[in-house]
Amino acid sequence: MSTEVKDRVTAIQATIILANYTIAAGVLTLPRTIVEASGSPDVWISIFLGGVISFLLGLIIVKLSQRFPGLTFFQYIGKIIGKPLGIVLSLGVIGYFLCIAGLEIRSVQEVTSFFLLEGTPPWAIVAAFMWIAFYLCRGGINAITSMCRLIVPITWTVFLGVCLLSFQVFDLNNLLPVLGNGLEPVWKGIRPSILTFTAGEAMLFVVAFMDKPQKAVKVIIAGTCISTIFYVLAVVATIGAFSIDGVVTRTWPFLDLVRSFEVNYLIFERFESLLLVIWIMQIFCTFCIAIYAGALGLSQVIHKNFKSCLLAMLPVVYIISRIPPNVNALFALGTGIGDCMLILFGLLPLPLLIITYFRRTVS
């Protein structure tokens, strides 16, 4: 049975998976969504706070998963709240992962067909993406890990390089004054930043694959730190270039940041194509992890072959990705998914953990 957990990942590999899963299409729009919500340049503080909250939520999930070594969420949920409820909740989580996959693939398609491959039909972009992801996910968690490890040096270098290069359009005045309007804008910016931190839910199944599950807390700390650094860098660089007034007028602020400078006497003069190509790989990682999680969940819930479940995911994801009729609806879907995440992985795990705790002590 391929539903059995037989693959193993180390703590470092798990961290890489987690970071890759978190950092995705959100970075491209985060500077806008977060400034729209807060209206102040202090949003980088919101991101730090969002990171802390996201870590706490992830911590609960980790603690929950650690109580059932070697089992994924879909396998142990029935033991906590009973089989029927467990199946319902599992299907909810599977649906969530599918929506994430659909959202990511649609974002890739929108950005790619606007900035990179104007004229290429959307289905051609999406199809290539999906079939390669299918091929990769068939190899299981180890294949995904290898791929993540392969792209991490490239994407991180390009990302950091681009942020450094954008220093030439950076103006510190755009980030001042710090806390000029008090703390209120900071609170307002927390919600959009948490919505972008889709981290903890990956731990629902990653912990089961870890060779040393007791290290899972370190994994979530490291993973959240990495994504926080990325988000803060992206937001600070973008606001520094455009000012908060300018950021809200840009649909894809981070891409426009990269488009807004040219570098002379370096191999490349402009970096948006490079960043976009690299970022597609980053989104590809998130996409693969999401459909892998969805397919894994489905195969464990209905006890069917993993690869057939994976194949069954693809049309569903494609349909989800086609649902938003325009870019506005796409962003609305993103926010909606974020809210679902808050309910599914923000509110639920704590009661589950408490139930587990009492059941254990009673028995």
Binding site: T120, F242, I244, D245, V247, S260, R270
Partner: protein
């Protein structure tokens, strides 16, 4: 079985490797390098524009002039102009109230597709900028997917179209305009390059800013001061001339290098100081609701050219005296610029508001809606500290 698989892979590869889905050969593309925007109602003479000009409801027609490159080596397309010099650009104009429509009308006239990836500069005429909100004029350029936010903006006294006609042989005006910012370390009449990315914020946040003014000058183009865009209206309100722009550069500390020239008041001898670095800090003071500013400018540099009646060793006393004369001149330049902003343009574009916002956020919130008017009454003090570090290769003065 293996062979069967290989054939599938080969046939798939054939379709994938045959190239990009929506590619166009580069020979079939027309690269836009510059756009000049003029008002279509503009009369031939370049008189003083009427600020009330754009009040009629009918959308003003805009003449968009697009500058394209003629790639080197495409021999047949080379155009010979007077004096045997080779022009490597050509201009096409269209009139419409929509800039997008104008560029698409070009497709009625040329087979090649205009592409905006390499657009470098947008020049807007005074008449158009005075009567239209800049947000409207640049909307197409900021919305487009090919045109990058790194495109530089200029205004021009007179016709924008004329700017694109003037250049040295073998150079395209758009590229000259783009490259001229490399001279910022040599002349302080060059403001920082203002790109589309840098204007969307101020326009949205209703902050005033400067755009470099470029004029046709003999057979070339020349940077001549800057136009001031008023934040509250998004329209051009006036110009700073070359020395006023220099005053602005000193106020903001944005200069990289350049010339500071003055005369010794006693003997009218020339003193020229080459600016090597400068730094300015605007301190906002609030006393019982009374706002005042103190501008502190620091600069280091060297003697570049000094005339004196008889040759003399430059000892500390002379350096000190010259320093005082130069400092006074800098203060005067800054005062002229501030006076122009306060009394004539009623627009603050030097970053005083930003300093107040950063240093006294609460006070700023109470005055920001009426900032330009408030600023007109604010007293400003200046402190300039020049440090003449060296005297060049001669330690005596000339003549």
């Amino acid at each position: 079985m293996k062979k069967w698989r290989m054939w599938i892979v080969l046939s798939v590869l054939c379709s994938i490797l045959s190239g990009c889905w929506s590619s166009t050969p580069i020979e079939d593309l027309d690269m836009q390098i510059g756009v000049a925007l003029d008002s279509a109602e503009e009369s031939g003479e370049t008189g003083v524009a009427n600020p009330e000009y754009g009040n009629h409801t009918k959308p003003a027609k805009i003449i968009s002039t697009y500058q394209f490159t003629i790639p080197q080596g495409s021999g047949g397309a080379l155009m010979k102009s007077a004096g045997n010099s080779i022009k490597n650009y050509y201009n096409m104009s269209e009139t419409s109230d929509s800039i997008f429509e104008a560029i698409r009308q070009l497709s009625l006239r040329t087979r090649r597709t205009p592409i905006g990836h390499h657009l470098k500069v947008i020049v807007i005429s005074e008449e158009l900028a005075r009567s239209n909100n800049l947000t409207k004029l640049i909307d197409f350029f900021t919305r487009d997917n090919d045109i990058r936010p790194s495109v530089m903006l200029f205004v021009t006294k007179g016709k924008a179209k004329d700017v694109f006609e003037n250049t040295l042989p073998g150079q395209a005006p758009s590229f000259v305009l783009e490259g001229i910012f490399n001279n910022r370390d040599r002349n302080m009449g060059i403001w920082e390059p203002v790109t589309l990315a840098k204007v969307v914020g101020p326009l949205e946040g209703k902050r005033s800013f400067l755009l470099q003014n470029v004029i046709p000058y003999e057979k070339e183009i020349k940077l001549a001061g800057a136009g001031v865009i008023k934040g509250s209206t998004g329209k051009l309100v006036g110009f700073l001339d070359e020395s006023e722009l220099e005053g602005m550069v000193w106020l903001t500390g944005k200069g990289i290098g350049g010339v500071l020239k003055t005369y010794d008041p006693n003997n009218h001898n020339l003193i020229t100081y080459e600016v090597k670095s400068m730094h300015s800090k605007i301190k906002a003071n609030v006393n019982n609701g009374q706002i005042s500013f103190n501008v502190k400018v620091k600069s280091t540099g060297r003697y570049a050219e000094v005339f004196a009646k008889e040759s003399k060793k430059l000892h500390d006393g002379i350096v000190k005296k010259d320093k005082a004369v130069l400092q006074k001149h800098v203060v005067e330049m800054m005062q002229t610029t501030v006076k122009k902003m306060q009394k004539e343009l009623h627009t603050e574009a030097a970053g005083f508001g930003t300093s107040l916002r950063n240093q006294h956020p609460a006070v700023w919130r109470s005055v920001k809606d009426n900032w330009d008017e408030t600023f007109s009454e604010i007293p400003i003090t200046y402190e300039v500290n020049l440090n003449i570090e060296e005297y060049g290769a001669s330690d005596t003065s000339a003549e």
